[in-house]
């Protein structure tokens, strides 16, 4: 099996480095510094220590027996990335890049964020390591996620609202890239997903790989061997690649990525980049993009801010094209149903992003039960984040009143 990406950051036709020349030197430095760090026992030991003592790794696998009853004959297992510090897999990447920032002698990080999860994780690592931090967030998102703006500010980060373009995640990424062109000498751009120019898709995958390294060993040791299927939600795609990475060579393990189909792919209001996009260049890499005939990016739509992105990591594009992984869309409605079901059956409230993967594996389990009624397939799904941040969205979606069920003990 060829090792991907190649030396210039290509995954087959995808990936590469489409950036202003001013950033080329910094990207080259980052690639070689990350290569060196990956082989430096001191760096590795420090990262391991943080993962264990700060983030709380290893995260467990929970067997979801109750939720499994909704999924045909399948046995569903959850890799619990929601139990990380800050509540999602994002911290895995952030701790690694923040350590790397210090190693490169830089004192400041910038980041883009959609819902605010990556921004909060970055602000957290910056607080821990004494780095200055500025987070770019689309103006629309700062209003939708005011609580996360406050969280970042409490952690000591500056939050810049981006009022350009569509005022969402993609514009926050543009603005961070623009700032980085000017500040690259002192500043590291801490990209939150497996997108962007080389070396980001590779580096972020390697920092997220720990998800599948742990999960693969846990499956073999505690759950009877390799799973038949591995699944995750895909926006930019970092939790999915972390979940897939160590299983990619296991040819018997099927890989499933679930994209946000919003109101339905046929409505045009979705973020299903692989299912409905076309090949193009966005944010420094060739990948699948939601774009019009001219190549202008089309705004994406999803109830989940973390999946609301019109591009996707180039390695996912490659995995889709090569057939190693299969990608399907999950609508807002399907995801919210699964959100409710996991919460009620397992007492685990997933992030709405993660709920897309849960709806996907439910569909998969039911389909497998029809195709092979006698089989008892095992499906391992990445529970990428917890849903506390999504309570207000759920409140609106389910039309809740906020009223208590009963008032007792009052006086007439």
């Amino acid at each position: 099996m060829t090792l991907l990406p190649d030396a210039t950051g290509h995954f087959g036709d995808f990936g590469g480095k489409f950036v202003p020349e001013a950033l080329n030197a910094a990207l080259a430095e980052l690639a070689s510094e990350f290569s060196r760090a990956s082989e430096d026992p001191t760096f590795i030991a420090e990262l391991r220590r943080l993962q264990r003592d700060y983030s709380g790794r290893p995260t467990p696998i929970t067997v979801a027996d109750n939720f499994s009853t909704l999924c045909g004959n399948a046995r569903i297992l959850l890799k619990r990335e929601d139990l990380n510090h800050t509540g999602a897999h994002k911290i895995n990447n952030v701790l690694g890049q923040a350590l790397l920032t210090k190693r490169m002698g830089k004192t400041r990080v910038i980041a883009e964020t959609g819902a605010g999860q990556h921004g909060v994780a970055t602000a957290t690592a910056a607080a821990l390591m004494g780095l200055e931090c500025r987070v770019y967030m689309g103006e629309v998102d700062t209003k939708r996620q005011a609580l996360n703006v406050a969280r970042m500010q409490l952690l000591g980060a500056e939050v810049y609202a981006v009022a350009a373009g569509s005022r969402t995640l993609k514009d926050a990424m543009n603005e961070a890239m623009r700032e980085w062109v000017s500040s690259v000498e002192t500043t590291h751009y801490l990209i939150g997903t497996v997108a962007g120019p080389h070396p980001f898709p590779w580096m972020v995958r390697e920092l997220q790989r720990i998800i599948s390294t742990e999960a693969r060993a846990q499956m073999i040791e505690d759950h009877g061997g390799l799973p038949d299927h591995v699944a995750a939600c895909v926006g930019g795609g970092s939790n999915a690649l972390g979940m897939f990475a160590d299983f990619i060579p296991d040819e018997g393990v099927k890989l499933w990525g679930y994209e946000a189909a919003g109101d339905g792919i046929e409505t045009g209001r979705h973020a299903a980049t692989i299912s409905a996009g076309t090949m193009g260049v966005l944010h420094g890499a060739r990948t699948y993009v939601l774009q019009n005939e001219d190549g202008q990016t089309i705004e994406s739509h999803s109830i989940s801010a973390g999946l609301d992105y019109p591009g996707v990591g180039p390695e996912h594009a490659w995995l889709a094209k090569s057939g190693r992984a299969t990608y399907e869309g999950v609508t807002d409605a399907e995801a919210m149903q699964a959100f409710g079901e996991l919460t009620r059956t397992e007492g685990i409230m997933p992030a709405i992003e993660t709920a897309h993967a849960l709806a996907g594996v439910k569909r998969l389990g039911l389909r497998l039960a029809e195709e092979q009624p006698d089989a008892r397939p095992t499906i391992l799904v990445c529970l990428s984040g917890r849903g506390d941040k999504d309570v207000s969205t759920a409140f609106e979606w389910f039309g809740m009143s906020g009223e208590p069920d009963m008032v007792v003990g009052g006086m007439e």
Partner: protein, 284 residues
């Protein structure tokens, strides 16, 4: 004082079309003036008027036609605002060819400046073909470096178009040399670490990047961009650059957003006159 020898640009195959214009300016012992405006702002037709106005009077030596893009990572706020409006008003990639034709009809040399995805979606071969047919001289690609330019080199060779890549203060000497070797026409040196936009002072990094580029490859003209907004700055940059590139300052002349085009065009012509005078007195 002139630090620029006038007879170094002799290799016609490297100068292509636009490099010969710069070489002719060098033969007059002056820097060339290159003007950028985006097509489609305030509207496509009004932008064609603006492109024509750049060639009035003494005029500019080369015109850079920018194609608006939804995700312009190297553009500052002035250009972003204009291109966002142009897109919402329906500008298309193919409108750049109308603009090229309008400039070429005025006897001036048009180039296109565009982010790579727009060429990739149009089809690199088709884009080069249609630009050539419209009288275009070549393309500046701010987010395409020679590393990723295999297909583009083939298309620009086939249609004999110039291809202008960027170098930056952060580029290593080797990188500057290899980038310039991949260019035809001239090389675009970004003089500051930053995005487009006017600045009150020209960067101290500008003469450094110009001389580094010249040391790396003295046969290819060097254009300096990012930050020039008036005649004095143009004169200053003209001392050491083969071409002075002005964009945001020209675009700001159009800030009535189409409400007063005659007034805007008068201001545009006046600024072009001032800049054209600047590049001519720079080495006096």
């Amino acid at each position: 004082m002139s630090s620029v020898a006038t007879n170094r640009f002799t290799d016609e195959s490297r100068l292509g079309i636009s490099g010969k214009v710069l070489a002719a300016c060098a033969a007059q012992n002056r820097a060339a003036l290159i003007a950028y405006l985006p097509v489609g702002y305030p509207s496509v037709d009004q932008s064609l008027e603006a492109f024509r106005a750049l060639t009035d009077g003494v005029g500019v030596d080369l015109v850079e036609i920018g194609i608006p893009y939804s995700d312009p990572v190297l553009d500052g706020i002035v250009i972003q605002h204009a291109t966002t409006k142009a897109l919402s008003r329906g500008v298309r990639t193919r409108d750049a060819f109308r603009a090229a034709r309008a400039v070429a009809e005025r006897g001036c040399t048009p180039l296109v400046m565009t982010y790579w995805n727009l060429i990739e979606q149009y089809g690199p071969d088709e884009f080069a073909r249609d630009l050539k047919e419209a009288g275009g001289a070549g393309v500046i690609t701010p987010d395409l470096t020679p590393d990723e330019a295999g297909v583009w080199r083939a298309a620009t060779d086939k249609y004999e178009l110039d291809r202008i890549f960027l170098v930056a203060p952060s580029s290593t000497d080797d990188r500057i040399a290899s980038t310039m070797a991949a260019c035809r026409g001239w090389v675009y040196a970004t003089s500051v670490m930053g995005v487009t936009g006017t600045r009150t002072t020209t960067s101290s990094a500008a003469p450094v990047i110009a001389s580094r580029a010249r040391a790396a490859d003295h046969q290819l003209p060097v254009g300096i961009g990012l930050g020039v907004s008036n005649g004095d700055q143009a004169a200053e940059v003209a001392k050491y650059a083969d071409a002075v590139i002005v964009g945001s300052a020209l675009l700001r002349c159009l800030d009535s957003d189409g409400a007063d085009m005659p007034g805007d065009l008068d201001r545009l012509r006046a600024l072009v006159d001032e800049l054209a005078d600047g590049v001519r007195r720079g080495r006096a």
